[in-house]
């Protein structure tokens, strides 16, 4: 009994050390980016590794937050993320639930047809034409509707639904719930961790999206945040080539401040979702 106790303790100790190490290694790039964004040019150029800001300055943030484009792109991206994620979740949940019932006829064929689209596509030209013909060109909806369901997320959602014991649903049906009622009253409340995960996946993907914007958006006011960021990252390079205006005196810190400005809002979302990953989220429901 004692040896097992010590063994367990020893494991805990190792575990903490390993995880801390992983934490340090993964924190580094983010930390370096943050430090550069807060340091003046001379500090940034004079060394390759940035552990602490030697001279603290917010000049880079002053600069980018003074740019109108940043704020318009925030607006676009926040809209696309919030509205897009909501619509995506609705579509995904509605489809994933019936597809999770292997007894329901036709679901396997439909699932196969959905999975097929992960592998094969018609390419950019016909897709461009469809987007154009459905009237989405140069509108924020072009950033949402053409990719409203990620098949990957749909598959995960369906897999999660499958882990819910049928017995719970059956008892709800006996109580007179319809299929839709079962989904919204029984299944969804039991699936908070997975709903949180898939929501997070959609939100992060929408936030980081720029591919559709490149193809379907020409109005500068509708450029999402990631296009703003790409602009800032490539700016020095382009300025060098073309001899345009360059923000060189802020140089690296402006780039890194842009990275921070583009990443921080979505990062803040995670701790919020995290509380749904707590063990026993199902417990209450099961006991009810």
């Amino acid at each position: 009994m004692h040896s097992r106790f010590y063994g367990s303790r020893l494991f805990d100790g190792f575990n903490v050390i390993i995880l801390t190490l992983l934490g340090v290694i993964t924190l580094y790039p983010f930390w370096d980016t943050l430090v550069v964004s807060l340091s003046p040019l001379d500090d940034n150029l004079s060394s390759a590794v940035h552990l602490f800001p030697r001279h603290f300055t917010l000049a880079a943030y002053d600069y980018i937050f003074g740019m109108k484009e940043l704020w318009t792109s925030y607006g676009v991206t926040i809209f696309v993320t919030v509205v897009g994620t909501l619509i995506s979740m609705l579509f995904t949940v509605l489809a994933a639930y019936p597809l999770s019932k292997s007894s329901l006829k036709g679901t396997r064929v439909i699932m196969f047809l959905f999975v097929f689209t992960m592998m094969f596509s018609g390419g950019i030209i016909p897709t461009y034409l469809v987007v154009k013909n459905t009237g989405l060109m140069n509108s924020v909806w072009a950033l949402i509707i053409p990719t409203v369901i990620f098949t990957y997320n749909l598959i995960l959602m369906r897999t999660f639904f499958q882990t819910i014991p049928e017995s719970l649903e059956d008892s709800a049906k006996i109580d007179g719930c319809s299929d839709v009622g079962v989904l919204f009253r029984i299944v969804l409340p039991l699936s908070l961790p997975s709903l949180a995960t898939i929501t997070l996946f959609y939100a992060v993907a929408r936030w980081n999206e720029y591919f559709n914007a490149i193809f379907y958006i020409t109005d500068h006011d509708l450029w999402p945040l990631q296009l703003f960021l790409r602009g800032m990252l490539f700016q020095n390079e382009a300025a060098y080539m073309s001899g345009g205006e360059s923000t060189f005196l802020l140089g690296p810190s402006v780039k890194m401040a842009s990275v921070m400005a583009a990443a921080l809002p979505i990062l803040l979302l995670y701790p919020f979702f995290q509380k749904y990953f707590v063990k026993g989220a199902m417990l209450g429901a099961v006991k009810e």
């Binding site: 150029l45 390759a48 154009k132 490149i214 296009l227 700016q235």
Partner: protein, 519 residues
């Protein structure tokens, strides 16, 4: 109760689906509304011709305001209603996809030459501008003085802007303060250069007591390009052309079959063997290269100067307050020849599509972008609003200029970037530039040593094969300077492989073109 519940859920379902459908419907009506609104606008002033201009633009340019006064002024002067579409940076793909889907603007600016543009021309999507040249005096003058080669069977499919075609600003930049410290002069010959790089690498120019400096650093080649930053060595040994060479019988041959190539690469191999070249230059992008220069790791680099003089020296001084940069013409070889910048074979093409309803107006618009009148408007703005003039002295009203997206310190309006001209080619420097004289001198030095091409064009075969044969060239170039292969064997193998895998086809095309030019 049960039925009521069921009804409710059905209703929710239906509303959900309806609302989803409505979401698509809404955006649909929105865009049609916008379209009809703009249509009305065009109809209201019945003289104004709507003109859609699609360009990849330039990242440096600020976004356009909705009520931009420069655009309004252009509309007024040309009697058009300009509908400007700027696709995001680096998104030439979007232009290509739009065209491939049958979505043509009236006027387009895009990279040239590319296989996509060739296709547009072959399929009649870009129309010749010859008929409108009388309306385009500035464009006509440029086309007929050095750009004749851009015509295909006598037809011009647009105005080609060659970045750095008329002037250049590219040479080797040195740490002048290091040279001074080591009592050395800016190197003018290959031998001087060797001595300078040797001293940079071995005599501890940064004074930190460690042998941690290199002589020369540079960047990795762009996707599909040849490693070209060391070409100065070949030109110094007398390689006459930048693209292809002629042998004694007058046959077109690749550069590595010319005797100057062997001499040049021997020289480079020596530099590399003695560790005078940054061993990881292939890892550098432009920023990485400059960083090594600022951080005392290398005393020389190839770089563009002109208006970058202030930027490079400013950055260097941020790290080393005593840092000074110096430059001179590329080093010359035994016969006094030398050079570094080569005339580009492409650039940005601005042309008119078959979609343009009023091609004359489209032509006038292109002319305007390039004309002195247009340059003045796009650089300075409207007199009295954006600037005031007192004799030759221009005073900018930065506040008003910022409203219309002009870049600071006298740089241009967003529409002036990335289509028909850049400041370098116009020798344009605003009066606010602090290193004006030095910047202009760097252009004089570099432009004098431009290396010409044997033929000015890139044909379809070369367009298709060049990246593949360039890979082979790069591989052998690296193997030879790294000492992995003997020079003669390396050149022989390179020659064989290069010719086999598309090189011979290219040579044939170049020969035909060359013979045509000779006549």
């Amino acid at each position: 109760m049960k039925t009521w519940k069921r009804l409710l859920t059905t209703a929710i379902m239906v509303t959900l689906i309806m609302s989803l459908l409505a979401a698509c419907g809404k955006s649909d009506s929105k865009s049609t509304e916008a379209a009809s609104a703009s249509g009305e606008g065009a109809a209201a002033s019945d003289e104004a011709v709507e003109l859609t201009y699609l360009t990849t633009g330039d990242l440096v340019a600020a976004p356009l305001a909705k009520d931009d006064r420069i655009i309004a002024e252009i509309n007024k002067r040309l009697g058009i209603k300009l509908n400007l579409k700027i696709v995001p940076y680096g998104a030439n793909d979007q232009v290509i996809a739009a065209f491939a889907s049958g979505d043509y603007p009236d006027v387009v600016t895009t990279s040239y030459p590319t296989q996509a543009v060739s296709q547009w021309i072959n399929e009649g999507i870009l129309v010749p501008i010859n008929d409108y040249l009388d309306e385009m005096p500035t464009v006509k003058q440029k086309l007929e003085n050095g750009l004749q080669w851009t015509a295909i069977d006598g037809k011009y499919y647009g105005y080609l802007y060659q970045v750095g075609g008329e002037h250049s600003n590219y040479t080797i930049t040195y740490r002048q303060d290091w040279l001074d410290k080591l009592n050395l002069q800016l190197p003018t010959t290959l031998d001087d250069l060797y001595n300078v790089l040797k001293a940079f690498a071995t005599q501890d120019p940064d004074g930190n007591g460690k042998a941690d400096t290199y002589g020369l650093t540079t960047t990795k080649p762009g996707a599909g390009s040849r490693i070209s930053t060391f070409d100065f060595a070949f030109y110094a040994y007398g390689l006459p052309y930048a693209d292809y060479e002629l042998d004694d019988q007058g046959n077109v041959i690749p550069r590595f079959e010319h005797p100057a190539f062997k001499q040049g690469i021997e020289y480079l191999r020596k530099l590399n063997e003695e560790k005078l070249i940054d061993p990881e230059f292939l890892v550098n992008d432009n920023g990485g290269k400059e960083q090594k220069f600022y951080q005392q790791k290398a005393g020389a680099m190839d770089d563009a100067l002109f208006r970058n003089v202030s930027r490079i020296e400013g950055s260097l001084q941020a790290v080393n307050p005593n840092g000074v940069i110096g430059w001179t013409a590329p080093p010359v070889g035994p016969e006094g020849k030398g050079g570094m910048w080569t005339v580009p074979k492409g650039g940005l093409l601005t042309g008119i599509t078959k979609e343009a309803k009023n091609k004359e107006k489209a032509a006038k618009f292109i002319e305007f972008l390039l004309s002195p009148e247009g340059r003045d408007l796009l650089q300075n703005g409207i007199e009295g609003i954006h600037y005031t003039k007192d004799g030759d002295k221009i005073t900018y009203n930065e506040e008003e200029r910022a409203k219309d997206g002009f870049a600071k310190n006298g740089w241009s309006h967003p529409l002036a970037w990335g289509n028909v001209i850049y400041p370098l080619d116009a020798s344009y420097l605003p009066q606010t530039e602090p290193n004006r004289d030095r910047a202009i001198q760097s252009v004089e030095i570099s432009s004098k040593t431009q290396i010409p091409n044997l033929v000015p064009t890139i044909g379809p075969v070369e367009l298709k094969n060049s990246a593949i044969v360039n890979e082979i060239y790069n591989q052998y170039f690296l193997d030879i300077i790294n000492g992995k292969i003997d020079i003669d064997t390396g050149i022989a193998e390179l020659s064989k492989k290069w010719r086999q895998q598309g090189g011979d086809e290219i040579l044939k095309e170049i020969t035909d073109e060359y013979n045509k030019l000779k006549k």
